[in-house]
Amino acid sequence: MSDLPRRIAGLVLLLVAVALPLVLDDFWLQLGLFVMATMVGAVGLTLLVGVAGQLSLGHAAFAAIGAYVFVWATSESEPTVAGAGLPAVVGLVLAVAVAALVGFVFSPVAGRLRGIYLGLATLGLVFLVRHLLLNLDEWTGGFNGRSVEPFTLGGFSFSNRDPDYIAVAGVELEGLHRLWYLFLVLTLLACWLAANLRSSRTGRAWANVRDSETAAAAMGIGVARHKASAFVVSSGYAGLAGALLALAYGRLAPDVFTLTVSVDFLVMIVIGGLGSVGGAMVGALFVTALPLLLTQYSDALPFMAAPGSGGLDPATTSRLLYGLAIIAVLIFLRGGLAGAFRRLTGRGAASGAPDDTTRPTTPIDPGHEAGDSPSRSKETTR
């Protein structure tokens, strides 16, 4: 079977991800949580931008909605901030559902606008949601935000208590370890679903709409309906990512979800290769881990200056690196890291890996809509 090496590699990576918490310290565990949370968001965004060809700058807004709904649902009511006191799993489902619902409410806009026009409309959404977060302080805690309750599942708490002590192979599993496994399960589930969705009937319809709306309509695909559905699915993913980010941070404030976050999600999927689920995961790893690593190890890096000194501090350096990475990928590395990997391993159009729509051998014509990675539907357009 031609996929055997791929499956073995996947299995090895999975085993590594399962074993890692046993050897990592708190800094790395926390880093892993952030990486996995942003992976979910990036994968959702690549479905919208890469597969369906709709630019969105509103991902942070939907993540914010997911995060705050989750926190509201799982917290007990307090004098200053409201809470529903629901079980955490219900909170997670609600976070995804409400984010998707808001996406649905906004989807008439998404269904009517193409590519960059949608990008502009969603830009407004980020500012609007931020305004709501600051003003609806009975639910959100306003500017100062509110704290996040630990995740519990049937009496088992993903924190340092309840049960107070569990250990595997002599390593005590504390809150961060427990959250790691929770995040791992949810992230894998979300990515697996996205990969399948991409090669499903719906996913191919999205790609067809991206390549040519006219051709898609001629083939009986409801263009507005599919653009709207891509938007709803992507919003739901952002909602889940927001809820996970809330758990990883332990405290929420409106400043967690700025326009920069939306741009960062875009950076991840562009570096990884638009439309590729694996690429989005690698992009999330790069963009999320880089600033944290540079901050942690800034003492060991000779060129790194202290923050605010006007030199190259970790945050500045990582932003300069992202900026350069985006430009380099868009100019030199067609298809991002995923495209480069495919060329390197010789996985051309013929191998037909199950979760990776294939690239045609001919160059892409420049006239079509946004979205880099072509797909099987490409064959139908010309």
Binding site: V109, R130, H131, L132, G310, G311, G323, A370
Partner: protein, 296 residues
């Protein structure tokens, strides 16, 4: 009543500054089809160049340096990056510009640091009184300059070979190219013009009542995006109109915030985006934009 008039005049003069930026978006979009997310950083760059050169060479030569610098950077972005995209289409170009924006803004923020650079404008904090209504002199000058600039733009696009060539290139690139119009030249002119407008807007955005040149200026330039969208993506007169509307709506919302408390505090900052979303829903081509012919 005079309070109302003050708000209106303030809004309109600020709106004209937004129009300068919005016109830059529209010109770049029509001449090269790029949604220039780095435009805000170019506004900041123009103002930054003025602020750092004015202590040595004086204010007016510094303004010239700022304008030239912003125009050159615009032309370079187009020539070195946009024209070399591996997969040129509006989506990837927009994302490319986000990358350029990150680079420019991060570097400018690093250079400026926590300081607020004084612009050194000779009009300082002067206030002009028009019929009993006090307005900052910088705003009045901004309005005058904007009117002159827009008259110049109208002349360029309506009366000169270059401007008519740019319009032809925007309407149908390949055909214009066959008729002997050099698309590389019309594109470069568009980016240079946008840079000039950005630097001018930067000067007025950072002089009184604003404290000086600081990184958030790039973000306030984002307010011009709703103005651009409102006017229609490919229309310079639309951008002017859009800027005026957004400036007016913002000034009135801020001015009467106490009466609009049910909308939450700070609603003035988001009202442009609310207007933009409504416009995109009701009339996606904007007030004066041309409708997309494709209909499925």
């Amino acid at each position: 009543m005079s309070y109302f008039l003050t708000q209106v005049l303030n809004g309109l003069s600020f709106g004209l500054v937004l129009s300068l930026i919005a016109a830059g978006f529209a010109i770049v979009f029509t001449s090269t089809g790029v949604l220039n997310f780095a435009h805000g950083s170019v506004v900041l760059l123009g103002a930054y160049l003025v602020a750092v050169t004015q202590p040595t060479i004086g204010f007016w030569p510094a303004v010239l340096v700022g304008i030239l610098g912003a125009a050159v950077v615009g032309v370079l972005i187009n020539a070195l990056l946009v024209r070399n995209l591996a997969d040129p289409n509006p989506g990837t170009a927009a994302i490319l510009m986000l990358g350029v924006d990150i680079l420019l803004l991060t570097e400018l923020t690093r250079r400026i640091g926590n300081r607020v650079l004084p612009l050194g404008a000779p009009w300082g904090a002067d206030v002009v009184s028009i019929g009993g209504i006090a307005l900052p002199a910088g705003r009045v000058l901004a309005a005058g300059v904007a009117v002159v600039v827009f008259a110049g733009l109208w002349f360029l696009f309506a009366r000169t070979r270059l401007g008519i060539g740019m319009r032809a290139a925007a309407a149908d690139g390949p055909t214009a190219s066959l008729m002997g119009i050099r698309l590389s030249r019309t594109g470069a002119t568009g980016w240079a013009l946008a840079g000039v407008l950005a630097a001018l807007a930067g000067v007025f955005l950072t002089s009184f009542p604003s404290p000086g040149v600081a990184p958030p200026v790039a973000l306030s330039a984002f307010l011009a995006i709703p103005a651009w969208v409102l006017g229609g993506f490919d229309s310079v007169p639309g951008a002017v109109l859009g800027g005026l509307v957004i400036g007016l709506v913002t000034a009135l919302t801020v001015g009467y915030e106490s009466d609009l408390h049910f909308l939450g505090s700070g609603f003035g900052e988001v009202v442009p985006y609310v207007v933009m979303i409504i416009v995109l829903l009701v009339r996606p081509q904007g007030l004066l934009g041309s409708k997309e012919a494709v209909r499925v």
